[in-house]
């Protein structure tokens, strides 16, 4: 699903008449996303900024053929909104809400899996195919088409990396913000195969955080992937306080669980290069990918 996204993919915003929904629907359309409308509990026959507003996902999907949805729902309303989208046949869901309860996320994950759909989030800035489209609110200043596929738990840290890649004359082929929650949709390990199969991608940037086992799962998949594209990894949270979630619900260490030591060891053993600072990672990528730099 993710590698076939393009400027043609029809996308809706669930909750398009809200402050955030309306703003980002406009920004996504301005970037190039094929915004075909949105849903709202408020009747707005005149539409929003030229985009039609429907009373339900079913109506929106029937009228527009929407494939993707950016779910602008509050955290405790995300589960119901996703279930509505799945019932309408939506195949790709991006849920930026921060604070979705873990047991709701389990239910969402099971429903998405049963429907054969793809879920990106929650607690994430969304995804982008730079130069083509974006779903969510990755800042345009960080986006440029290029050789690096990004997967990230963190929004802001990935902005910093993306921004410096662009300034270094590099850009991104695909950018998936998997989000900072403990239980989520697409995970790091799910993305290695599609990134390796994507012809625009020449390097993979993994931006992880302490907590959970996603980096370890990714390492396991990387070990069993011969001739993978090179993986550059940055893991935040070496100095995280134990027992307390560091902003992201998933960034929680306790005992030996979720610490940076294990993640670094496993990734390194699997062949990834793990960096201690943003700048050192950018410098290595700039040197290694010199042949892919934009000129002029």
């Amino acid at each position: 699903m993710i590698t076939t996204l393009s400027a043609k993919t029809p996308v809706i915003v669930q909750g398009i008449t809200g402050r955030m929904g309306r703003t980002h629907a406009g920004l996504m359309r301005a970037y190039g996303t094929n915004m075909v409308g949105g849903t709202s509990t408020r009747a707005m026959p005149e539409g929003v900024d030229g985009m039609p507003v429907f009373a339900s996902c079913a109506a929106a999907a029937a009228a527009t053929g929407a494939v993707g949805s950016v779910v602008m729902a509050p955290p405790d309303g995300t589960r119901a909104a996703v279930e509505e989208a799945l019932a309408a046949g939506i195949k790709l869901l991006v849920t930026p809400a921060e604070g979705v309860p873990v047991h709701d996320a389990i239910a969402i994950g099971r429903a998405v899996r049963a429907a054969g759909a793809t879920w990106v989030g929650a607690s994430n800035p969304g995804l982008a195919v730079p130069g083509e489209m974006k779903m969510g609110f990755l800042p345009d200043v960080c986006l440029a088409p290029g050789p690096v596929a990004i997967m990230s738990k963190s929004g802001t840290l990935s902005y910093e990396v993306g921004y410096r890649l662009v300034r270094a004359g590099l850009g991104q082929s695909l950018w998936i913000g998997v989000g900072g929650d403990a239980v989520k949709g697409v995970r790091f390990a799910d993305l290695l195969a599609p990134f390796n199969a994507d012809p625009r991608t020449f390097a993979i940037a993994l931006i992880g955080e302490v907590g959970g086992v996603e980096e370890e799962e990714f390492s396991d998949v990387l070990v069993s992937t011969p001739h993978s594209k090179p993986v550059y990894a940055l893991i935040a949270g070496r100095e995280a306080k134990e027992g307390v979630a560091m902003g992201h619900a998933g960034a929680l260490t306790y005992g030996a669980s979720g610490t940076i030591t294990t993640k670094t060891e496993r990734l390194t053993a699997a062949g990834a290069r793990v960096f201690a600072s943003i700048e050192s990672m950018i410098q290595a990528m700039t040197a290694d990918l010199a042949a892919h730099r934009r000129t002029g």
Binding site: S154, T156, G237, A249, G255
Partner: protein
């Protein structure tokens, strides 16, 4: 987030899981439960307390008093010991039982280990142990039943496991772990309790919220988040660098990079600039908490504005600094993104002493200089 053991055990008791008789001491020696020996355990939300010196076996009341004196108020793995649990010692065969949310399968992982010991925990956490099943009571019970097929204590353990399942599902926990679980002819008793709650579900779990609110000195960070709506985590009360930052990942990375350069960050902060809504209140609160620490030498502001308008943020920052006169430390601001030029102009007028840059490396070097370290 992790609960302290005493609160985890209160949850166990409420769901019918036996725990040793005990009392929580926060000052002078309490009335001791029964006759010794007792276990004296520092109540900090971390794993590996035993190895860090936070658990002691005491056979006399005097020894308990000494242990309390030595533990209370001390730092243990980044936390101040505000409370100590004194319990009657429990015994029996040492087992391990845990139920946890399994993120990859959207289910529950059931782990039972018939051997005991502190390192069992490590074995279980390093992955793959146990079995996963659907997140419902019936599936958990069936899985336990399968794991325990040949166990001599099967009947008692299944009863206990069902209670643990009720607890995990009803309270929407991420982890409910008993290690060690003592099994003897008189029954099962939980020697320890490791409970990870989901702070995102707290609004529909009023009992858990009450548990946190009852211990403001222990769950300071979590309570602050519940009341303020953003994350401020105190890392080191003697820290030198206050962080005024947005975004969890980038803020953590900054802390790592500053520490690697010899700096001592005071706090983690994800202020969420997108939620300021034109009010300097959050910034004022964060600056106020930082200014309470005499060790503070510099404040580093780092905002990568994708959506946030820095022109607006810079006004809020200047307002907040004017309303926080007790903040005397110099401020270094790295502002990049939407509206950065207007923001730089605003701050040059209203806070002329502030170093404003759009380059993160420049700001990190300035911080290093201000705390007296080479960059």
């Amino acid at each position: 987030m992790l609960l302290i053991e005493a609160d985890g055990k209160a949850l166990f008791r409420a769901f019918g899981i036996p725990v040793p008789e005990g009392v929580v001491a926060t000052g002078a020696a309490p009335m001791l439960p029964g006759a010794g020996p007792w276990m004296v355990k520092a109540q900090v939300p971390v794993g590996g307390r035993g190895k860090a010196g936070g658990i002691r076996k005491c056979s006399s009341a005097d020894a308990v008093s000494v242990a309390l004196e030595e533990m209370l108020g001390k730092r243990l793995k980044g936390h101040t010991v505000e409370a100590v649990l004194v319990e009657k010692i429990a015994s029996g065969k040492e087992k391990y039982l845990s139920l946890s949310v399994d993120a990859a399968s959207y289910g529950v992982r059931v782990i039972y280990l018939a051997g005991g010991g502190v390192d069992v925990e490590r074995a279980a956490e390093s992955g793959g142990a146990g079995m996963v099943c659907a997140p419902d009571r019936g599936a958990i019970a069936a899985t336990l039943s399968e794991i325990l097929t040949k166990d001599p204590d099967r009947a008692a353990l299944i009863v206990l496991g069902e209670k643990l399942a009720d607890l995990l599902l009803t309270r929407e926990l991420m982890l409910a772990e008993i290690n060690p679980l003592f099994v003897s002819p008189t029954g099962c008793i939980a020697g320890d309790a490791k409970i990870v709650i989901d702070l995102n579900a707290i609004e529909r779990q009023p009992e858990l919220r009450a548990t946190l609110e009852a211990r403001p000195t222990i769950y300071t960070d979590a309570i602050r988040k519940l009341h303020e709506g953003f994350d401020y985590v105190e890392l080191d009360p003697n820290g030198e660098i206050g962080l005024l930052t947005t975004g969890a990942g980038l803020s953590m990375m900054l802390i790592d990079e500053l520490t690697a350069r010899g700096g001592k960050p005071l706090n983690f902060l994800d202020i969420r600039t997108g939620q300021l809504r034109g009010s300097p209140k959050r910034i004022i609160h964060a600056l106020t908490w930082m200014a309470e620490h005499p060790s503070l030498k510099v404040v580093l502001v780092n905002i990568f504005a994708g959506i946030t308008d820095l022109a607006e943020f810079s006004v809020l920052l200047a307002d907040a600094l004017e309303q926080t006169p007790q903040m005397r430390a110099p401020v270094v601001a790295r502002l990049v993104g939407r509206g950065q030029d207007v923001a730089a102009k605003t701050l040059a007028e209203r806070q002329p002493a502030m170093l404003v840059t759009d380059d993160l490396e420049v700001s990190l070097a300035a911080v290093a200089r201000l705390i007296g370290r080479a960059a």
